[in-house]
């Protein structure tokens, strides 16, 4: 029991960050699963984070009012960005979303009445691990339902082959717009969760570092199934704490090396539904081959008997 409590006091912060990062990664996964590489999650998170900080700090509203409001704010932000970005081709979209992250930082620094400017903002309320777990569970449930819905089927079709999907009557624009909206709402929630976990946010909280970490976590976990980003977020959060215990000086380098090794040897991430399908297919092939061999040997035996 003692050991369990020690473990909890040592790692509850890491678990809280793992949960927050899961939300970030799910937001990134939402657009990635429609075949779009976009860093705008960070923008939505900034909108949601500062909205939550204002709602809690200035108006004194409780946490469970702040979360939905942050989600709605992120959703509105994503609708505006999607309207501008969806006409861009994929790699221009990636560049434009990077530019958007840079612009967000400048905006945050230059609107001190909304965001505290250079000073940043303190958030007086702290979300507990239980509250974060509930939040992530709700979001994960939504992703689970979506995965098994018409939308889930359509988005996988779009990602595999957009042209083929559109001949089947799936509107590419429509699917991508929905993906962006989901990304915006979840991103807003992620920002609010980040604000209430760190209890201090500034322009640097929502910048390139978090963008790169989140996309790395998503791809590390696997961007072909909604469970992948959650796994990736936890691995990427736990990794520095583990290497800090072993090699304190090399924790960042270890993070980079793990990312590199995963990309070279497991390019589709840790959770890969296709790998399961391939294993199944391989097993079936093997069974078929064994049966074939049996039949062949039986034939040979029969032929031998007939010859006798």
């Amino acid at each position: 029991m003692e050991a369990l409590l020690d473990f909890w006091s040592a790692y509850s912060a890491a678990i809280a960050f793992g949960l927050v990062n899961s939300l970030f990664a799910l937001s990134m996964y939402s657009v990635l699963s429609a075949g779009i590489l976009s860093f705008t999650t960070v923008v939505f998170a900034a909108i949601g984070g500062f909205a939550a900080a204002q709602v809690i700090g200035t108006f004194g509203l409780p946490l469970w009012v702040a979360f939905p409001l942050a989600g709605i704010a992120g959703g509105i932000g994503s609708a505006i960005i999607a309207a501008i970005f969806l006409k861009l081709e994929t790699h221009w979209m990636a560049l434009a979303s990077l530019a958007m992250v840079l612009i967000t930082r400048v905006t945050v620094l230059n609107t001190p009445s909304l965001t505290g400017g250079v000073m940043g903002m303190m958030v007086p309320v702290r979300a507990s691990v239980l509250e974060l777990t509930i939040l992530v569970a709700i979001v994960a449930l939504v992703f689970y339902r979506l995965h098994n819905s018409w939308y889930g089927l359509a988005i996988r079709a779009v990602r595999e082959d957009a042209a083929a999907a559109s001949t089947m009557g799936v509107s590419l624009r429509h699917i991508q717009l929905i993906a962006f909206l989901i990304s915006g709402v979840v991103g807003g929630l992620a920002g609010a969760a980040m604000a209430t976990t760190l209890q201090y946010i500034s322009a640097d909280t929502f910048y390139l570092g978090v963008a790169f970490t989140m996309i790395a976590g998503t791809v590390l976990g696997g961007s072909f199934h909604w469970f992948g980003p959650i796994v990736g977020a936890f691995v990427f959060t736990a990794l520095p704490s583990v290497t800090q215990a072993v090699l304190p000086e090399l924790q960042d380098i270890a993070k980079g090396v793990v990312l590199l090794v995963i990309m070279i040897y497991l390019p589709r991430g840790l959770i890969d539904p296709r790998a399961r399908g391939l294993r199944k297919a391989a097993r079936q092939r093997q069974d078929a081959a064994v049966r074939e061999q049996d039949n062949a040997s039986k034939l040979v035996k029969n032929a031998g008997q007939a010859h006798d």
């Binding site: 221009w92 530019a99 840079l102 790169f212 791809v219 000086e249």
Partner: protein, 295 residues
Amino acid sequence: MILFLEQLVNGISLGSLYALFGIGFGLVFATLGILNAAHGVYASWAAILGYFSVEYFGVPFPVAVAIGVLGGGLIAIVVDQIGFQPLRGRKSGMLGALITSIAFLIILDSLAGMATNHQSWAFPSDSFPSGMVDFGAIQVPQMQIIIILSTLICGGGIYLLIQKTRIGAAMRAVGWNAEAAALSGVNPRIIILLTAFLAGATSGLAGVLGGAATSNVSYMLGEGLLLKGFAAVVVGGFDDVRGTVIAGILLGISEVFVAQYLSTTYRDGFTYILLLTFLVARPRGLFGSRDFVRA
């Protein structure tokens, strides 16, 4: 008027650094299809190598520049061969290469931080040309002239290399379709190595010259260059070296003028708004060609 002229020269030399840095970034994007987040780290490492060689071995400045340029190019080749080579032919698209480059950004950045002890250094003032050149009305630091000339020479040279020589034709062919290029007798492996080296070397040159001119050699040096160089490449259209050079210089001038005549707070904001405007309104940049296809 004198202030205006001085700021104009400041802007041109700052913009030349962005352009010099951006050339390689655009070259790699257009030829190899890689959005390389680690491109800025080459500049940091080149500046650090140049600084160390001056500080510990007392080499003259041109040798330090050469060491930085070579170092930048070699690091770029190592990154390409370890990180990007396994991804080629696996159709992982831009995402795989981007993640790999982020991995190298993390690794090389932390190593650079350890090498410099997370501090900022400056080249000793007598180790590089720090005098002024008299142009009548205004005086211009020698380093600024060196930067502007290097950008014009490198930009012009690489433009001619790509557009007028057989190697350049091969580079464009590999960028278009590596298999087809191999069929017509181009060795894509060598072209890829050459492209990576050129990108790293120009980035390194920008790093050493910028580090000397601004008296700031640190592991952070590359990040600032990366963001502004990225803007220059997008505004100029990254399959054209001329566009990158012109856009980089214009960005430098506008940045200095915005800071001088409006407010320093809008300095970065202006650049990024311009960047987004170009991406949305004219994604192919100033000189970008219509038929550029690279998924």
